[in-house]
Amino acid sequence: MAETLYDRDLTCDVLVVGSEGAGGPTAINAARAGLDVLIASKGRMGRCGASQMAGADFNLDGRSAIALGLPGDERDSPERFFEDLVREGFFLGNQRMVEKYVEYAARNTADLLEWGMPVFRFEQVHAEEMARGIITSGVRWVRILRRKAREMGITVLEDTMVVDLLTREGRACGAVALDLRSGEVVLIKARSVVLCTGGWQQAYHFNSAAADLTGDGQAMAFRAGAEMIGMEMVQYIPMTMLWPPLARKSILPYIMMETEVGPLVQLLNGEGERFMQRYDPTTMEQSTKEIVAIASELEVEAGRGSPHGGVFFALKHLTPEGIDFVWGKFVEFLDQNGDKRSEFRKLLPHLLEMAKTEDLEVGNAVHFMVGGIKVDERTRTGVPGLYAAGECSGGLWGSVRVASATTQVGAQGRIAGETCPEYVGSVEHAEPERAQLEAVRERIMAPLERSDGARPIEVLERMYGITDEYLRVIRDGEGLQNAYDELNWLRRDEASRLHVTASRTRRLNREWHLCLELENMLLCLEMSALASLRREESRGGFYRSDFPYTDNDRWCVNAVISNRDGEPSLRLEKPVVTSMQLPSGRMTFEEAVASGTASLRRGEVEQP
């Protein structure tokens, strides 16, 4: 009878869901501790998720850097790094998690150097996320993790989508997955499960990330009883290519802004004005992602945008010779480091050539999920045996990510891999409950079996319509209420009756996979809209035009969402404090800008 519920079954000590920046180190460290580890990845290891696309930069404080033989900075310290992160995250971060981040940032770097990660450059001053650490390549990083996992003999199920978690008496005891190639349903029995599934960027039409990031981890954790935190905190990256279409979604202009060329670039509105002088006259275009994103969108809202709804990234004033010189410098840097990434080698020269005669159009893309599955400093969720590491987790950054995510995911991966062995040693495998297996099987198969219902592409387009209209950088109460109502309806009434309209094959049937992903994306969006609606203030990267100030007296609290009979239910919770007291009073937008960019300006002053 069980045979009808799944096609294959596997058993392991730890199931790691997701194979990249967080999943790799989780698996490697759990295997080091002697556990039997299985990775399931929706893509192929080293070729999926956001990690491969990262710049990438790895942060650590200057003093720890020196201890590793890197050209760090004595004036820096773990304490100072900690304080910058808490203050610039506007105090919503869990301070115990931030302490662990700082501690494990150095360990993560040491691991990666030991495993052969190249260092292209070391940047000394904390200037938002691109400094206080190593500049390298995301592709090289994930390939190194893959090599290490292979050396250790870790099994990876590739092109395998985990659909739901299984629990027994409230503890995680495995998961059900869909082998995307064969269409087989796979039962995985595990003593513990670590979610390393990344963000839900695909719920937004204009995003910078990879196609596999659809909030599956957050949604399945929610269904299994775990809580979410900071779901309203979505990081947008400004200066993402809108036009020309071949370059759409590339963050190359943003990356250029972070290099030596940055100060030469001008961001212009539709009237040819360098608008950043009205928002952050000190750091101008070099301001934080959040501030440039808010400023760009305010320009668009005021009718001063570019034809495709963004702003202009202008280099023309440098003259063609100047632009060739810039490209020459880039090539030098790339050659020095043997960097072959096609975004730099092919797309960048194409764009620079264009930039000689026209300004590029750039806009705000959904980039990084600041919130996610609520965990503690050891990556534990509230569900025993269930852990979450990397971008799918929440609680570390507070209201804005001001340092490296690649460091976060590596550090939390290592912590998860070190934490779960103790738990695994204390529990036996639990037999999954038949009723749960039946329910998951039914969820998976229903879209293939229904003869009519909602069309997945239509639901996808409606979802994009909602995110495009209401869930933007600048939000307001009315729009958020509309977003919440429409998303709630879409999830409950439409996503529950999706059906595959074309091929009924179980092999590589993208329309079918989309049905499963839509439920997850809609749930994440709904939770994000709910938390955004509740937060009646602006903070960090979160901006409400109806409450354009930071209100520490009322809102220095986190929005935590739990599962009440299947529906998201929100409560407010004070951040975990260790050594930095929470602030009081109100800050205007201008004051918040000054506070959020403090370490950027300190860098300028202190640089010898």
């Binding site: 070729r47 999926c48 590589l508």
Partner: protein, 105 residues
């Protein structure tokens, strides 16, 4: 305003049900004047034929999983401009799981 369209001939094959591969032709409007081959495939899947199997990953040349043949030449669909009518085929027809998706990519 009528937008210019191009003819895209796609390799279709399901080794489990089809005796042999065939080509299917789609008319794809060049929405923005400039489109990548991957954008064309997405257009087909979203508007014309949700059953077409191909891989779309990072869109920017990192994952390299959208490797296929455009008019015989092996390229990444995401970084190739769709210029005029084209034939799309899998890298290796012997390894096809379905349509343009090969076991090795």
């Amino acid at each position: 305003m009528t937008r210019p369209t191009i003819k895209v001939r796609c390799f279709r094959y399901d080794p489990e049900t089809d005796a042999e591969p065939r080509f299917q032709e789609y008319q794809v409007p060049m929405e923005d004047g400039e489109m990548s081959v991957l954008d064309c495939l997405r257009h087909i899947r979203e508007h014309l034929d949700p059953g077409l199997a191909f891989f779309a990953g990072c869109h920017l040349g990192f994952c390299q999983r959208c490797t296929l043949r455009v008019n015989g030449k092996v390229v990444l669909a995401c970084e190739t401009t769709a210029g005029g009518d084209m034939d799309l085929e899998p890298v290796n027809a012997d390894e096809v799981i379905r349509d343009l998706w090969c076991g090795s990519t």
